[in-house]
């Protein structure tokens, strides 16, 4: 079991090349998604505020 785990991370010696690629990809995907959600929520809140202001200044 230990050996299988070891060899998985080692990737036949190519670990230092394979894992940074997957790591960078992961960061890109996660960060992009979070930023998109955050940006949308921020715009929704701002719009809500503005609509309230125009109704009752």
């Amino acid at each position: 079991m230990e050996e299988i785990q070891q060899s998985f991370w080692a990737m036949g010696g190519y670990g230092p090349y394979v894992w940074p690629v997957y790591g960078i990809a992961l960061v890109f995907f996660v960060a992009s998604a979070f930023f998109a959600v955050w940006s949308l929520r921020r715009a929704q809140r701002r719009l809500q505020m503005l609509e309230q202001e125009t109704r009752a200044p």
């Binding site: 090349y17 690629v21 949308l40 715009a43 719009l47």
Partner: protein, 239 residues
């Protein structure tokens, strides 16, 4: 100003309705495809007899490249729509997609670089394929900078649209570079002649490609929604 607000209410509202309906499905497909693709690609699929386990970079590199080119085609089409019909939604889609496309292009370069070193002994070479891929990345950056460089977003989008259309010439160069010139990068394994790649590599590759696309659809919908809201906000702030 009136025609702007009428126009604004028409198509974008429909896009938001459709987008909101598709969104959970896009996330679902992306999650499933990534889970299956990553498991198959990293655990089940065999190592290559020549390249060993470094071949697993394929499952990030190729889908990234496909998306980088595909999203650029989208930018060019949106650019044409924007220039011909002055379509607000085309601008919004372009602005939403561009940073994601840039990310895919960058990921293509980085993953290719990490794959190149153990395979060819170098991180980079100025051959036709790699250089045109770098040009693609720079075109994306140019598009993003242009679309945000002006007070009025419509003006920035106009220039960005022009850049996107002109830059289209780069796409066939990328595509056919490995056939027209002698390059370090290997020729295509999937083309009009048939499929030259073993099914055990092809399955995770397709899964990841579908995952990448689904993810792109999901995040783009979010970004377009935010962009349209910001246009509405600008409209209200001016009043």
């Amino acid at each position: 100003m009136t025609s702007f607000s009428l126009h604004f209410l028409a198509n974008p509202a429909r896009f938001v309705r459709w987008g909101s309906a598709i969104l959970p499905w896009a996330w679902g497909v992306a999650a499933l495809c990534f889970a299956a693709g990553l498991y198959w690609g990293l655990v089940v699929a065999p190592a290559d007899y020549q390249q060993g386990d470094s071949v697993r970079i394929l499952y990030i590199h190729v889908p990234s490249a496909i998306m980088a080119e595909g999203v650029y085609v989208l930018l060019a089409l949106c650019g044409i729509a924007s220039l011909v019909w002055r379509h607000l939604l085309a601008d919004a889609i372009g602005r939403a997609a561009a940073p994601l496309g840039a990310g895919f292009a960058g990921l293509t370069l980085v993953s290719g670089s990490f794959w190149g070193y153990p395979t060819w002994g170098t991180y980079w070479v100025w051959d036709a394929r790699l250089t045109s891929a770098l040009v693609l990345f720079l075109l994306y950056l140019g598009y993003i900078v242009l679309s945000h460089s002006f007070d009025r977003p419509e003006k920035g989008s106009r220039f960005a649209a022009i850049l996107a259309v002109i830059g289209t010439i780069n796409l066939p160069i990328i595509k056919f570079s490995v056939e027209w010139w002698s390059t370090l990068h290997q020729p295509a394994s999937i083309g009009f002649g048939g499929i030259d790649i073993d099914w055990r590599f092809l399955v995770p590759l397709v899964l990841m490609a579908v995952g990448f696309l689904s993810y792109f659809v999901a995040v783009s919908i979010l970004r377009v929604k935010a962009d349209l809201l910001r246009a509405k906000i600008r409209h209200l702030e001016v009043m």
